[in-house]
Point group: C2
DNA sequence: CCTACCGATCGGTAGG
DNA sequence: CCTACCGATCGGTAGG
């Protein structure tokens, strides 16, 4: 029996993480137990521990993977739009589309992780904070550009714009996951327009 | 040994629920295990099961208790203000105060419960939906009155107002619990003012 | 990567 | 309300 090549190992790690993201989006990062994930992958618990080291390491890797998907889905494609207001609107559109047809079964992974770990200091809490800071920084930078472009009033606080867009996004995700009312997405988009369109 | 009087039983149930709300606000409704709560109350697991019947019944009773506290803290005192815009602003003020100095250790209980149970159909999910509907109905009714009073533009959709205020509240709670930045509360209040002040 | 196993905890029952 | 106990699952280790 030859040992697995580096590529096979990497792809098996990627497959493991893909399954982990799907599972955790439904049951949360705490519900992502070694036993359940091992079962779903048809492997033993100790095999999984061997790959990640501990449940916490698995949680961190899964969160990182989910953050990558969020970035690629919500705010990276928007860089095709001109910086400033147009790009902010592209981000809001992508975000609504992301929520309407989420790449994870259980809705926005980051919102769940944020709520799960907001009161539990530790590496996962720190990682969630970092992901959220990066996302808010993107919003804030585009808001700044929009102000420089004269697309938003000169006295606008870019941090206010970023904060409000994100709060609407997170709050809407919660409402939408609970009630599954597509009208919520339209309301949210209108509210974002109001923030960007004063 | 005389049996406990009805009053003693009731007060002991109330004390149990008070402890349950505090515990669940930190560890979530799923983390509210029979063993942990029994430990904290200095009683046996089976004694606790005897009081509530099952973990799910305990979760339902705890949620109801938390919803009562939310109601009494956030939107009942606002009925002292005149119906319409003034009352909406009183509710927003009370909500910011509630978040700044929450009656539960772990921040807004309802947000946590909403995220925890949004993907798990069952009695707890239904109860969370009911609580949220009641809260949104309060916001919507005051928005309608504000429109009738001419305090909001005639073409305002009261459902939009209720949705947006709630989304800001939930999203802000998540951000605030994670980052503990008091400035977030001021930003949120300003965003609510913008919704109510166009 | 596996089997076999560890002590802890889960929700809950039996019996009093 | 208690003690004693049930089978399942938790994160993880030992040993190969």
């Amino acid at each position: 029996m030859p040992r697995r090549s580096a590529i096979e190992v990497a792809s098996s790690r990627a497959e493991t993480l893909a399954a982990a993201v799907q599972l955790a989006s439904v049951v949360g990062l705490e519900g992502l137990t070694i036993g359940r994930l091992a079962d779903r992958l048809g492997m033993s618990k100790s095999g999984l521990v061997g790959r990640f080291g501990s449940k916490e390491q698995l949680q961190l890797a899964t969160l990182e993977q989910a953050a990558d998907i969020f970035r690629r889905t919500v705010y990276e494609p928007a860089s095709a739009a001109p910086a400033g207001l147009a790009r902010l609107n592209a981000i809001c559109d992508a975000w609504v589309a992301y929520l309407a047809r989420p790449p994870f079964l259980g809705g926005c992974f980051l919102t769940t992780a944020m709520v799960e770990f907001d009161a539990r200091p530790g590496p996962v809490n720190n990682a969630v904070k970092k992901v959220m800071r990066r996302w808010l920084a993107v919003l804030e930078r585009e808001a700044s550009t929009a102000i420089d472009n004269g697309e938003l009033p000169a006295d606008t606080d870019p941090k206010d714009v970023a904060f409000t867009i994100n709060a609407l996004a997170v709050g809407t995700n919660c409402d939408f996951q609970l009630n599954r009312n597509p009208g919520s997405l339209q309301r949210a988009r209108r509210a974002m327009t109001a923030v960007l369109g004063r």
